[in-house]
Symmetry: C2
């Protein structure tokens, strides 16, 4: 049973996780920003430093029993790569964009357990599908998910808890799905459809590249994930994208080379920034169909979480972070996972894992409605 | 009667004017770009040089009898200021943004006649209003005008024959109107309304700052000008504007200071560029109401011009340029205008001026329907 946990990154989600883990463990939170660490002082140990320095990272991690990664995507991958040789378990929510297979080989070699993508989406959807895939012959998996502000402010009607670059990536990266057993690629923001949620109203779901590891680990012939936004804003995003505002190709503006994406991210960050007091919620619906014990079954998991107004922890930070901290508790308490760099559906296949994680989140007010 | 005319600027409109004037006068066309001058060689004299050089400009102009200005807005003002002391008439379509009053004082001092804003809008609307203002007690003037592509291509459904900076200026500069005798200011792109045109369909008219000199020269208590676009695109423009993409305030992008407007103009130029073979048209409706000889009268002038496919002269170049060349012919043939820097409504007040200009354009296939 690990006692000392290192949380790398004190952003929104890292901060929420550090607070949650500090109730059960001895926690150190590390970040490059003193400002982000300030409110954690006295609750966890804090360490300020440049976490892209491998020696510093290794030194810090070697003093702990388990590592929780909450760094930005690109740093996340390098952090895991650096720390695997230490042999300590790593649970990560950086949602790094790279292929995880090299990390898996490295983790097997060093006998290290790494679980990545431990958020709500990716994360909970994977765990749910892993759980059912073990018990039934899954024919189709469909997930629609989004984090949205309560107040719809024109034109974007959106607030990001992630970096605007990560959000814009959702609007540009082609979406990979599986249909009738064949992998298909759809343009991002395409095929919008209206979806109705009780207590929320009508949202719009469109293609985004969210299946990630599920395309490699799961056999279901039909798998799709879509992102939810308020109806309409997709049109403005397509205008920006199709006019070149999301482009990563440098253009020459009066002698200066600039990527349109960088300016767009700068401008939209101001529009999309979730400010203290902004009310937001997370909504997700996972539908799994298939054959169980010889008969057709359909499972539907619906999440509608409204954040914690009292603590100021945003809904996205809660639903993402408490999935990750639940997994930390789960693997701390003993597990049968072999060494490797695993996506969360592998954990979901473990007997009792989904039940544990749902119960853990329920105790923190996050309720998945199951039908 | 002047024989030698100097056309400054061989852009779309300057080019069309040089060709038109060469039928009656000895013309020299000057531009900084050899490429733009190329197709005029053999038809007019051509002169390549930097027209922002005052000495060069004065030398060139002194060899001619009348100057036609077709330079970009800002250069236009300085050109006029430089050349007024020569005493030669100047007819300009640069649509310079500055206040014309200092030029008027200078022109009076040197006994020079300058007519500016000699295009279609501003231009023809002013001439029409000037004409009727002399004959009736005008109660209201309303002008809606736009240049549009025949093929509507999502998202912008627009092609610019002007610089994208000038187009974006229309989307940002507050619109000044007169209502019930009081000057009012409306946000650009505001108060959209649908307007139906026979043979075109439904367009959308919204507030833009187009009255210019009319606010100073005309007494009508109600005056308004709106810009026409295909319905819908206004919404995307408001999204860009309200998100900061039209801002002239520099932002720091990875250590480089850049004005969002510069990148936006760069990206939208590619979207908006009118390419050879692109079909476009000009539409304008001028409505004047008032009391004439003791009874209520309403005059309506409608222009729907489809460019000249044979010559490749765009509609906007024709309707703008041939207003200007008509004025060149008109003042060449003798006129009673006093020295000064005049907007075209002053010319419109001259007996027979509007009739001459309408007839001149009719001979070139540009027909204003009057009712």
């Amino acid at each position: 049973m690990p006692n000392k946990i290192l949380v790398l990154g004190a952003g929104r989600v890292g901060h929420a996780m550090a607070l949650d883990l500090a109730r059960s463990f001895q926690v150190t939170t590390a970040d490059i920003s003193a400002e982000r660490l300030q409110s954690l002082q006295g609750i966890t140990e804090t360490f300020r430093g440049d976490l892209t320095e491998p020696e510093l990272l290794l030194q810090l991690a070697s003093e702990h029993d388990l590592i929780v990664g909450a760094l930005p995507g690109d740093l996340g991958y390098r952090m895991i790569e650096t720390l695997i040789p230490l042999g300590k378990p790593i649970v990560d929510i950086s949602f790094f964009p790279q292929d995880a297979r090299p990390l898996d080989r490295l983790a097997r070699k060093h006998g290290t357990l790494v679980i990545y993508d431990c958020g709500v989406a990716p994360g909970m959807g994977n765990i749910i599908l892993g759980h059912h895939d073990r018990l039934m012959d899954v024919a189709s998996y469909r997930c629609v998910v989004g984090g949205l502000p309560k107040d719809r402010i024109w034109p974007w009607e959106y607030k990001a808890v992630f970096s605007p670059y990560d959000v814009i990536e959702e609007y540009t990266r082609p979406a990979r799905y599986r249909q009738s057993g064949v992998e298909v690629v759809r343009e991002a923001l395409s095929e919008p459809e209206l979806v109705h949620f009780e207590g929320i109203g009508t949202l719009e779901a469109w293609n985004s590249d969210g299946l990630r590891s599920l395309l490699h680990t799961m056999r279901a012939p039909d798998m799709i994930e879509k992102t939810l936004r308020y109806p309409g804003s997709i049109e403005y995003l397509r205008v920006l994208r199709d006019s070149g505002f999301f482009s990563k190709d440098e253009v020459d503006i009066k002698g200066q080379l600039i990527r349109p994406l960088d300016l767009t991210a700068h401008l939209l960050m101001k529009q999309w920034e979730l400010k203290p007091g902004d009310r937001e919620f997370t909504v997700m619906k996972v539908e799994i169909e298939g054959t169980e014990n010889g008969s057709f079954r359909k499972y539907c998991y619906t999440l509608h979480d409204e954040g914690d107004a009292q603590s100021g922890v945003s809904s996205m930070a809660r639903t993402t972070g408490y999935t990750c901290t639940a997994i930390v508790h789960l693997i701390s308490g003993g597990h049968t996972l072999s060494a490797g760099c695993h996506p969360p559906e592998i954990l979901g296949m473990q007997n009792g894992a989904l039940e544990y994680i749902l119960q853990y989140q329920k105790e923190r007010g996050i309720n998945y409605r199951i039908s």
